[in-house]
Amino acid sequence: MSKDNQILEELTSKEYEHGWSVNYEADEAPVGLTEDTIRWISTKKEEPQWLLDWRLKAFKTWEAMYEPKWANVHYPKIDLQSLKYYSAPKQASKPKNLDEVDPELLDIYKRLGINLNEQKRLQGIAVDAVLDSVSVATTFKGTLSKLGIVFCSFSEAVKEHPELVKKYLGSVVPMTDNYYAALNSAVFSDGSFCYIPKGVRCPMELSTYFRINAANTGQFERTLIVAEDESYVSYLEGCTAPQRDENQLHAAVVEIYAGAHAEVKYSTVQNWFPGDKEGKGGIYNFVTKRGICAGDFSKISWTQVETGSAVTWKYPSCILKGDNSIGEFYSVAVTNNYQQADTGTKMIHIGKNTKSRIVSKGISAGKSQNSYRGQVQVMKRATNARNFSQCDSLLMGDRCGAHTFPYIDINNPTAKVEHEATTSKIGEDQLFYCNQRGIATEDAVALIVNGYAKEVLNQLPMEFAVEAQKLLALTLEGSVG
């Protein structure tokens, strides 16, 4: 092994920071997945009949489906019957405001660096904190409701705004969409709901923080964002999980609706437990994220920094239905040790003069496998559609893999589609050059990687970008020689 690889090895072998777990009394569904499980969840959540019916329909659909096998990831078959589908921290009664939330739960978030105490929080970000299956707290609700903005847990939305949930649930990601989306539709427990009324510009970043704590529990959250005409919202999502030997399943669905002239920015910093150095444990992250630019001149922009999970299967996509609508996808995906990621996007051009931009930066280290999979589809009536895709791969060491699977499907001759791809290696030359100027190797790697990912990091809200930069450096710490 060359010196270069040794340093890579060291740098990438940094331990996961959020690997702790907390013991609290929990309300849990019995192990296994049957119709009864779904009824149990629905009853627990005091749901209306229509939602139970919807879940049961999804369950029937799911039963007839097969797990997708086309992704470039390998893992042992998941025994879905051995999982618990609901786990909620027991609280004496439902908290009405933050003061009533169990301090122990608030403490969990504090340890993650997320202070749910509104007064002490940095201004400008409202947080919905989801622990295992339920939302434990949402901050700044009052401030937001004055503008007519709804930002709450999904369960609350079902109770308070059933008409909105009914109208949009499954409208972007139908329950029949894929195996995991169907599973999620049947058993989803909580998540965030966000509604921005017409003409309102949301004055703060909305953020959901997901934390898996319980063992042997699948997390199936559902996020629904509706931005009415001429509205704007920027949404952030963060996630961590404790370090456990066994694998845990996370299968979320995110749906975004954007009306005419509306703009939604969705940023994710995904830091689920990636498994240990030998590839033991870690989260299986099988997520369906999709937005529809329903109105003319609407815009949806996905930005993701993916550093965690043992296996990632995720393609945040845009359906560009409105004329002149814009879809964007900016991604940095880092894999290290034995992590596997198959991630990318789909841009479906339906409306005229629709534009999409894809910037994907993969970084592979250790023995990991990192794949970009993207589809650009231009439909018949999408005159003057434009797409630009750029897929870069950065390799660290000589035992990892980078793969690119671009699919392009053009049905209109006026379309203009560009695809650029590069593959590079962090060279011994680059590291030596930095060393020779007095820069330590770990800092050199951070510098080089952040330089490489700059275009994507620039898309993140400022505070988040700083976090993401640190996370990148941390993930790769010990990985270069």
Binding site: K3, G427, E428, D429, Q430, F432, Y433, C434, N435, Q436, R437, G438, I439, A440, T441, D443, L447, I448, N450, G451, Y452, A453, K454, E455
Partner: protein, 254 residues
């Protein structure tokens, strides 16, 4: 300042340096010349700590410390600077960001406070003038898309920013036109002081018209086979290296 004794180094089992002896004192400029493949660049790389070379014998002391024991970054922090023959490109990292990281890590090593943004910028502006650097280059990605001349100027600019005690210029003249050569040499000359020293590795005498050496050494087959003053460089320019090769090779067969 720098003492090299009987230094042997090889790469993948092939010996390149076969017993180098050299003494460099503060305030001096030494030129290392020699035909292709004589080990000039290897010597520069070994001093800077490039890891693919294996040191098989000998010792190097720098300001009283065992240089060979130090990591490449610690050598840099101690004041060894290598101007690369082929400066490396780092996409997405601006020269400014790169240099600020470097300067502050060196300062930290020396127990000094990091420079704040304003002080750093002031220092940069001052040093840029030395090599007539265009400020636009500083916000661009390091060396990416720079012309050959710009890259070499940037090396000397970095040298000015880091203020090393020992600078090693590895064929800094290669690929430079006459104007760039003048600018680069001017920069080097202005940075010269009684406290620092420079080793100029070059193939041609031309550079030495601008950077006038106190000593000239000829490297051949991994050894310094001849040392002299700047007149030796002129002699080499006139007569080539063959006479030295003949001298060495005939001695070897005797």
């Amino acid at each position: 300042m720098l003492t090299i004794k009987n230094l042997h180094a090889s790469i993948e089992g092939t010996p390149i340096l076969r017993g180098i002896n050299l003494e460099v004192k503060a305030g001096e400029i030494h030129a290392i010349m020699g035909p292709n493949g004589s080990g000039k660049s290897t010597l520069a790389s070994v001093l800077a700590g490039r890891e693919e070379y294996e040191i098989t014998a000998g010792e190097v002391s720098f300001k009283g410390k065992d240089l060979l024991e130090l990591s490449p970054e610690d050598r840099a922090r101690e004041g060894v600077f290598l101007a690369f023959q082929y400066p490396v490109e780092i996409p997405g990292v601006s020269s400014t960001n790169f240099l600020r990281t470097a300067v502050n890590q060196v300062r930290e090593y020396r127990g000094e406070e990091p420079l704040d943004a304003v002080k750093f910028l002031t220092l940069m502006k001052e040093k840029m003038k030395l090599v007539e650097m265009d400020q636009k280059l500083l916000s661009r990605s390091l060396n990416e898309g720079f012309s050959g001349g710009e890259k070499k100027r940037n090396e000397i600019f970095q040298m000015a920013m880091l203020a090393p005690t020992l600078s090693i210029l590895d064929e800094t003249d290669s690929g430079l036109d006459i104007d760039a050569l003048r600018i680069v040499s001017n920069g080097v000359n202005q940075l010269k002081s009684k406290d620092n020293a420079t080793i100029v590795v070059t193939h041609y005498q031309r550079l030495l018209d601008y950077i006038v050496p106190d000593f000239v050494h000829v490297l051949y087959k991994g050894q310094i086979v001849k040392s002299g003053t700047k007149e030796l460089a002129l002699e080499l320019e006139e007569k080539g290296y063959d006479w030295i090769k003949d001298e060495v090779d005939s001695n070897a067969t005797v």
